[in-house]
Amino acid sequence: MPDDPRVDIRFRVNQRDVTVRVHPMARLLDVLRQDLHLTGTKEGCGEGECGACSIVIDGQLANSCLLPALQAEGTSITTIEGLAPGDDELHAVQQAFITHGGAQCGICTPGMVLAAATLLERCPNPTEEDIRVGLAGNLCRCTGYMRIFEAVIQAQRQARAEPPR
């Protein structure tokens, strides 16, 4: 093994260029939380089942617990901290989660919101089945999911009423 196995990894996170010196096999989840202090991304199961650590990497949802830091090199990442369009404005999905009580304990919420937001991006008019499939990788033990589904439907209606600027 090399003496110092750590490497410099450059990527973009929430529109900001960052360089971290970390082990290439470090989990991106740990790099985000510990090196970049982006603690909105949560750890649930640590094995890709629960979706609490979901982030968006080059436009696609991914579990950051299953991404070695080296895979982030050269990519553009959005975490829950970077989803809202501005300091005073929430993303439609975030607002709908508040309105419909889609969050309780909050551990699944950042991942669930990002999963819902990416679902609506690639599928602007999802059926209920589309929503179930799109969120199947995000587990919630509090809400029973119904309020989350209602929130996604609300966000979709709002997005249709107010096309993105």
Binding site: M25, N63, L66, G137
Partner: protein, 293 residues
């Protein structure tokens, strides 16, 4: 227990030439690492063997889907999401799309690769039964060149493959069929989404619709043996015959000789055999147009 990170090295070469040279220069030292959706789970559990890993995700030569006249060729780095969004695969290879849709959730489908699903060599993987039903071939590359092997003989035993230490799985070749085959895929797990399978069955049949007999048939299963496999004896019980209750019963009996299910944390040998036979029944019923169970 978590892994001790300094015991691992991970490098991601820019080209396939670089990657296979590294593999050839010290055979057995570098282990391929694709999407990471299986290996990172082992890492967190402290079960990933320590050592050097060769990141493949930057190798453009291993990506892309090539839609040719006689076959569709998937780069080993093709993700489940790539499969699900490809029109030819949707139309002509629905079993592979079904398998991709049933592998994990969206986040896993975005990162996991078909090559990784094959080379991780889990008998419970979801795409191998579909690939076997399509009579897939694999292209393996090394500094010595490229060789093509039938997927059917690739898995040699539990986690053992016809893959030399200096070789990488590069492409998966799915031959297109001249006639319309009927197809069936069903995975049985504890729940519909995100479950690891207890039994999975994929089948394709070239059915002579006027005579009602099976000109050719391929039946493949997962989670019922140390490797994903073709059920040759069950196929023989149906090939060239009319599909009816009698031939189905013979095929279901023959299936006992094809598979060797075990008791483990996900299911029992008895349940797996019973479900495998029932899936074959449902499959044949669907092929001849009778309604499901």
């Amino acid at each position: 227990m978590r892994a001790y990170l300094p015991a691992y090295d991970l490098r991601a070469p820019d080209t396939l030439t670089e990657a296979v040279s590294l593999l050839a220069s010290s055979p057995g030292v570098w282990r391929p690492f694709a999407g990471g959706t299986d290996l990172m789970v082992l890492l967190e559990a402290g079960k990933l063997p320590e050592g050097r890993y060769l990141g493949l995700w930057k190798l453009r030569e291993l990506g892309g889907i090539d839609d040719r006249d006689d076959a569709i060729v998937l780069g080993a780095l093709t993700t489940y999401t790539d499969v699900l969004s490809h029109p030819t695969l949707q139309k002509q290879f629905p079993l592979l799309c079904r398998a991709a849709a049933e592998t994990g959730g969206v986040a896993t489908q975005n990162r996991g690769t078909i090559g990784g699903n094959i080379a991780n060599a889990s008998p419970a993987a979801d795409t191998p039964p579909a690939l076997l039903a399509y009579d897939a071939a694999l292209e393996l590359v090394s500094v010595r060149g490229t060789r093509r092997v039938p997927y059917d003989t690739f898995h040699r035993g539990y986690k053992k493959m016809d893959l030399a230490a200096d070789e990488l799985l590069a492409r998966i070749v799915l031959p297109k069929r001249p006639s319309e085959w009927r197809q069936y895929y069903r995975k049985v797990g504890t729940r519909r989404a995100q479950a690891i399978s207890k039994v999975c069955l994929a089948a394709a049949i070239d059915l002579d619709r006027t005579a009602g007999h099976a000109r050719d048939v391929r039946i493949a299963l997962g989670s019922v043996a140390p490797v994903p496999l073709r059920a040759r004896q069950a196929e023989a019980a149906l090939r060239g015959r009319t599909l009816n209750r009698t031939t189905l019963a013979a095929a279901q009996q023959a299936l006992v000789g094809d598979i060797s299910p075990i008791d483990d944390l996900r299911s029992t040998a008895r349940y797996r055999l019973a479900v495998a036979q029932n899936l074959l029944g449902e499959c044949v019923d669907q092929f001849v147009g009778r309604s499901g169970p």
